[in-house]
Symmetry: D2
Subunit: 346 residues, 4 copies
């Protein structure tokens, strides 16, 4: 049995997502988002988030993130984010491209969460000094890069500092549903009620093929996003391809069910790992991702057993394990079983 | 019966395209193009074009065009193109964005084809003068914006001038298959054998949902395209979504069959229109699009009959009619019938 | 005697400008514009223009123009200007660079003045259509590229249209003083009272070495100019070098005296040319520049006589003659004399 | 007596520089660098550096730096530099602007010199990974930001690593002459013989008003610099203003004499400081700048005595003292005297 914990972007898509795409492909529809499904999606997101909002569908998470940052930051500004964040480390220099050359300022903090004290200091750093980039926006990731989740209080601590300094806040929600399920709060509570201005509402990692929504709560920021999306080449002619995926994702709580599956598999995995001598859990998983340290040889052993996951990029023995909406319970059990067997043998 | 001649991007996708997407969505696959289907697509395109080439899959035609231009043009350069071209008129300033601010220079020419004499003059305009943008690339559209098709000789006339001036040539092939079917030549003959360096190989308008390939024949230009695609937010994590569409499109000559259907429906439509007194065909259609001038009142009449198409943007009475792989023969006949009825009545 | 009519940027600088630079170079002063001379210049310009305003000193006219455009135009916008304007034809793609890739839209019009009717049509072109650049600013040149000068009524016709469409207006005043002297109005009347939001106040062509001021009347636009100037590399550390030049230029009406000298030499030149058979004045000069058509052989003859001026770039026989604050009366007379002699001889 | 140690950009210019500017301003000259003085400057620099080279005159150090970086770095690249470097901390985001959004990667290292081991690791970081900016150039400052000077061996250590990785090297020589005098080597030894590809040859801080030269040793990099300079608005029409300054600076070893004066005044200052109890020299000065830590109250005391210098930006009591070609010996002595008096009093 071949099981992957490499990433939640290796799985395909949920059945209903495909059905919806196929249905949407029948007949003709106006291009560029002037179709009925796209309108429906905006309504559904508005209902989900319990507020008026603007939606811009795109097909990649990078596009969602960097279009958002472009709308929030002048070219002479800077975006304050965690030093391990995806926008800083995994999107080449897409943020610089879309902001016209603004700078990302990495801030440290435990568990890949921005340290509020350090953030506060930076929001007042060299303000008005033309020789220095000016703090212009804050971006945080929920779930974070190491699998932790900001509590509502922690979110508030960040956004309060941002608001006081007059900076808009972007949330990279590539794993939004996983975080929401972990916190057990409403989408509204984790976003605009917590001070978020723009959300990259990720769906691709949690059941769609390629569909992400830029959700704008602070509509003063959405003025030019339509033009920016077109300029970036991200306005799909057959927009219903994207919108139908999102519609299926929002229908019958698919997003929630998928995230619950991924998170519960991670919980099972983590519980199992905790029972294995020599395995250290680096950051306790709150959603569907965990970083841990394996004893010498275990990574090779598990790889030989056809389990796939990422290692070798971080410290000695450190690996990253990710579960998805498709991770099977038997796969997790087999993984734990195999890991245990290795330890007992050595 | 509701029939649209508005655009070839209003139709959905061919059945086999969907089946392929659904199949691709089963199981896990490595992300970002490191999957098997993506590798297969490169091989298929290589076979189709009878040469070694590089392929970069993206999801919109604008992305294909502007990433190509970005790879060909320094920021202080200019792109010579037809004054009615899509890149100049219909992509906001995406070309400027992706080239770092290069300039598009529109050149006139009959039937939306670049006039070679004017092109030649411009390739030598202010060369070496730092006060002026320097000609850096040529971009032409095949099929053109008005539905005409460059003959192989006409292509050569353009590319010879470009080559002599040391400029690479881009082909916007949003309707590549329709042009190819019209000319009855091989893909190789219409591209690299005719001097094309990079092709935007369109598929979305002819049967896929959202899948375009940047096909690089002059591989010295492909060096940085991988980085540019990521920076533009156009690298799909679940790349097989795109690649599977393209694979289906290339399988069993789907691309050709779809284009033949579209073109033959246009021929039928055009033949019909030619028999109607008062209807003037502005540019004879060679592929799947025609511009013609309707007598007063005919546009309104047909619109009331539930036919949709674009008008009112160009001269008095001028309309654009486009057929697609899904245009039904009965739809064309009904349109001609209705048009005739209008003329006879008045 | 060697005399040039090639350009007003071939002359050096007025004596008092140099004296002021030398004086400013004594002793120490705070860098980056925090010196006394720079503060004085702002006060002097405020007095000259009879209003509160912001000043950003730079050392080239291109910098003044493109920083201004950058402050007025979003990256997805367009700048409406005359098709013969300097920003469109003589600054490489500096405007695209500083606006993040906005587009310049050239508008025709008699005597290099924007045609108000064509301007009006373009301000409403494809508004709200994401596929098209959005009109975002208007830029006009006073003196124009062919040496004509907008009357106050003509200026108003342009700015009224811009204001109605909500577009700010930039004036490229590379030859501002020459235009002002030609019209005989106040600086205020020719700028903010006529609807100008930002002025490139040129001084280099009229007596300084390298000193231009961006004068912002509409202070809502100056918010980020300080950052943009630094980002462009245009913030001088020893700013007093620039400011002292400008101070001398504004002292004792040097700017006016220099412009009067240049304009009166042009009037003399033009009057002389008018008396020569076979010489055609293409656009009557109102300031210090004229385009005219010489009979066959005259250009060569005058060039041999050591007169320098530009020709060979425009139509058959068309030449451009420019006078400056340093053009000597004897030089003009010698030119006319030599031209006459040529005609009489042939 | 009022003496400043704030910066070497607070002094004016050397007499001969002004004389040269004034001389250059007489008569007419072709614009945009097509004058005789500009040609002479290239010859003089070629002689000084004992090699064929290209020269691009600009008026600010930021322009020299960022135009150089733009010529060396693709938009998806990164520039490796010291974490305290001027390009990273004091030029807003001008480097991002001129490189089209490349990223600066700060590297730590003693005395503001890049640590070769850390540099080496970064030159191989994520090579070929499209998700990551690609190392594309190295930039180092000679003199560094804290007043230290790379030895020739230290320079070689950096450039060898860069060359091995295929990266060009830029030297920010805002205080080039001061470093050269400190090392006592030839200009060639400190630049191209040590592996430097492009040099920002600073003159403004050492005796000119506003004149810097981009000196290109690796001429394969100079291809597009002429266009980039124009696009940045840095091509002066009356170029001789810049060139004449540089000519005077290079004549009769003015550059060397000025640097010797600045450096010897710093030596005197440092020797004096070393005798004062409680004063700590943080980095021993090798050129004309020193960072030291003053005992409590000394900064205030000296400020009251009309000495100016920067403090309060770094650690508790840390100040920066800079000497220039104009720093008088009596000023240094007075400063030491006053500092001593303060210590004795307390």
């Amino acid at each position: 049995m071949k099981v992957t914990f490499a990433s939640d972007n290796t799985a395909g898509a949920s059945e209903s997502v495909f059905q919806a795409m196929m249905d949407a492909a029948q007949g003709d529809a106006m291009p560029y988002g002037n179709d009925e499904v796209t309108a429906e999606v905006t309504e559904m997101l508005s209902a989900l988030f319990e507020c008026d909002l603007d939606v811009f569908m795109v097909s990649t998470g990078t596009a969602a993130n960097v279009l958002s940052l472009g709308a929030m930051t002048p070219s002479w500004g800077s975006v304050l984010c965690h030093s391990e964040s995806h926008i800083l480390n995994d999107e080449c220099s897409a943020p610089e491209f879309y902001t016209g050359g603004a700078r990302l300022i990495g801030i440290d903090g435990q568990d890949a969460k921005i340290d509020p004290i350090k953030l506060k200091a930076l929001t007042y750093h060299k303000i008005g000094d033309v020789h220095s980039c000016q703090p212009s926006a804050v971006s945080l990731s929920q779930v974070t890069e190491v699998g932790s989740v900001y509590s509502l209080e922690e979110l508030r601590a960040i956004t309060d500092i941002a608001k006081e300094a007059g900076l808009p806040v972007h949330m990279d929600g590539a794993r939004f549903a996983n975080a929401l399920v972990a916190l057990g709060c409403t989408p509204a509570e984790m976003t605009w009620k917590a001070g978020i201005d723009i959300l990259s509402f990720g769906a691709t990692k949690n059941g769609t093929m390629a569909a992400e929504a830029i959700v704008v709560f602070n509509k003063s920021l959405s003025k030019d996003l339509a033009f920016r999306r077109k300029r970036g080449g991200h306005l799909h002619s057959k927009m219903r391809l994207l919108s139908s995926q999102m519609k299926a994702y929002l229908t019958d709580d698919l997003w929630r069910k998928n995230a619950e599956q991924a998170n519960s598999m991670m919980a099972l995995l983590q519980d199992g790992l905790a029972t294995i001598p020599g395995v250290k859990i680096n950051t306790p998983a709150q959603a569907n991702m965990v970083f841990c340290t394996f004893p010498k040889g275990m990574t090779e052993h598990l790889t030989e057993q056809d389990f796939t996951f990422y290692g070798g990029r971080w410290g000695e023995g450190v690996v990253r394990l990710v579960t998805s909406f498709r991770t099977p319970k038997e796969g997790v059990e087999a993984f734990i079983h195999s890991a245990k067997a290795f330890v007992e043998k050595t």
